[in-house]
C-alpha cells in the first residue's frame, strides 16, 4: 500500500507536480541521509550527497516505471551517487596522500577508541562501526547499510544493486561479521584480523 502511494507520488512528479516531490522528500530524506552518511562517513559530504540523490531522483522521474518499487528505485539512485562520490574522492585524494593528512570524521572518532581497561561508550561504538564500514568494499557497504539501517529485505537490496540474492546474502554476511569483529575488538581491546569468513 505504501509502495503504491510512493509510486503514485513519483508519477505526479514526472507530470511536473513539485508538491508531490516535496512529499517524497519528506518521506525519504532521513533514509537517504542515513545511507549517505554511513556510506561516506562524513556529515558534510553526506548532506551534499543527499541533495544530489534527490536532484537526480527528480530528473529521472520520467524514467520511473511503477513496476519497480519506489524504494528500490530510490536506493539504486542513491547507491550510484555514493559509488560515484567514492570513486571521485579516491581519485582526488589518493590513500598515500590522504593518510598523513588531516583525519576524516571517522578517523577522528576512531582515534578516540577506548583503552582496554575502559568500558566503551556510544561514540566509540559509532567509531568502530564506521571503521569497519570504511574497510568494506563499496558493494558490501551498500548492502550492509540497506539491510542494517533501512531494514530492506535481501530481495530489494539485490534489485537496488543489480545483483543476485545469493550475492547479497554473501555481501551482508561478510559485512556483518566484519562489524561484529570490530565491535568485539573494541570490547576486548585487541586489533581484529580481517578474514573472508
Amino acid at each position: 500500500m505504501e509502495a503504491d502511494v510512493d509510486a503514485e507520488l513519483m508519477l505526479r512528479v514526472a507530470a511536473g507536480e513539485k508538491e508531490a516531490f516535496a512529499v517524497l522528500f519528506d518521506r525519504y530524506q532521513a533514509s537517504v541521509a542515513r545511507f549517505a552518511y554511513r556510506f561516506v562517513g562524513d556529515r558534510a559530504r553526506a548532506e551534499e550527497l543527499a541533495q544530489e540523490v534527490f536532484f537526480r531522483l527528480y530528473r529521472s522521474a520520467k524514467r520511473y516505471r511503477p513496476s519497480a518499487k519506489f524504494k528500490t528505485f530510490l536506493f539504486r539512485v542513491a547507491t550510484n551517487c555514493c559509488l560515484n562520490e567514492v570513486r571521485r574522492w579516491e581519485y582526488q585524494v589518493p590513500r598515500s596522500v590522504a593518510e598523513p593528512g588531516e583525519p576524516s570524521e571517522i578517523e577522528s572518532l576512531a582515534a578516540d577508541s577506548p583503552r582496554p581497561d575502559e568500558a566503551y561508550d556510544g561514540q566509540e561504538l559509532e567509531a568502530a562501526v564506521a571503521t569497519a564500514l570504511g574497510e568494506m568494499s563499496p558493494r558490501e557497504r551498500a548492502a550492509f547499510v540497506m539491510c542494517r539501517f533501512e531494514g530492506m529485505p535481501y530481495r530489494e537490496i539485490a534489485l537496488s544493486l543489480s545483483a543476485t540474492e545469493a550475492a547479497v546474502k554473501s555481501l551482508i554476511h561478510r559485512a556483518t561479521l566484519a562489524v561484529a569483529r570490530r565491535i568485539d575488538t573494541l570490547e576486548m581491546g585487541t586489533e581484529p584480523e580481517r578474514s573472508p569468513a
Partner: protein, 156 residues
C-alpha cells in the same frame, strides 16, 4: 569458522532462509558450539547497531533541494534567454525587423508603398524560414547555406 553452514548464519538471523534450511541450521547449532558462538556475536552486534544514533538533514538542506528543483522546473533566466537564441525564433524576427527598417527608410515615389514593401519582405523571409525548417539545421552558421539555396536550384 570451519563449518560450511557458517556463511548462512547472518541470513538465518535475518529471517531470509527457507524453512528447510532454517531447520537444518537449528539442527546444526544444537551440536556446534563454534557456530552458536558466532550466532551470539552476530545477534549482539545487530542489537548494538540498532542503538546507533540517527543522522538527519538540516531544514536548510530541504530548502536548498526544493529551490534547486524549482529552478530546474521553471528554468533559469539564462536558459530562457538561450532558448530564445534559436534560429527558429531569430529568423522570422529578423525578417520582421528588416522589413520594418526598409519600410521606414525607403524613399517615396518608387511605385511601391512602404506597406507593400514590408509585406513583400515578410513574405520573402517567411519563405526563407520555411526552407530553414525543412532542411532542419540547428545552428546559425548554416544560415548562409540556406540563404543561397536558390542558387543551387537548376544546377545539375
Amino acid at each position: 569458522m570451519s563449518c560450511t553452514i557458517s556463511s548462512e548464519l547472518t541470513a538465518y538471523l535475518d529471517g531470509e532462509l527457507p524453512i528447510f534450511q532454517l531447520r537444518q541450521i537449528e539442527g546444526h547449532l544444537a551440536n556446534c558450539g563454534e557456530c552458536r558462538g558466532t550466532v551470539q556475536l552476530l545477534r549482539r552486534t545487530l542489537a548494538q547497531i540498532a542503538e546507533l544514533p540517527a543522522f538527519e538533514l538540516s531544514s536548510a538542506i530541504r530548502r536548498a533541494v526544493l529551490s534547486r528543483i524549482d529552478e530546474q522546473a521553471t528554468g533559469s533566466i539564462g536558459s530562457r534567454l538561450k532558448a530564445l537564441w534559436q534560429p527558429q525564433v531569430l529568423l522570422p524576427s529578423l525578417g520582421l525587423v528588416v522589413a520594418a527598417v526598409i519600410a521606414l527608410v525607403i524613399p517615396r515615389g518608387t511605385g511601391l508603398q512602404p506597406h507593400d514593401v514590408a509585406l513583400f519582405e515578410v513574405g520573402a523571409n517567411l519563405e526563407l524560414a520555411e526552407d530553414y525548417e525543412v532542411v532542419g539545421l540547428s545552428n546559425l552558421d548554416d544560415l548562409e547555406v540556406v540563404q543561397h539555396l536558390h542558387e543551387l536550384e537548376g544546377s545539375p
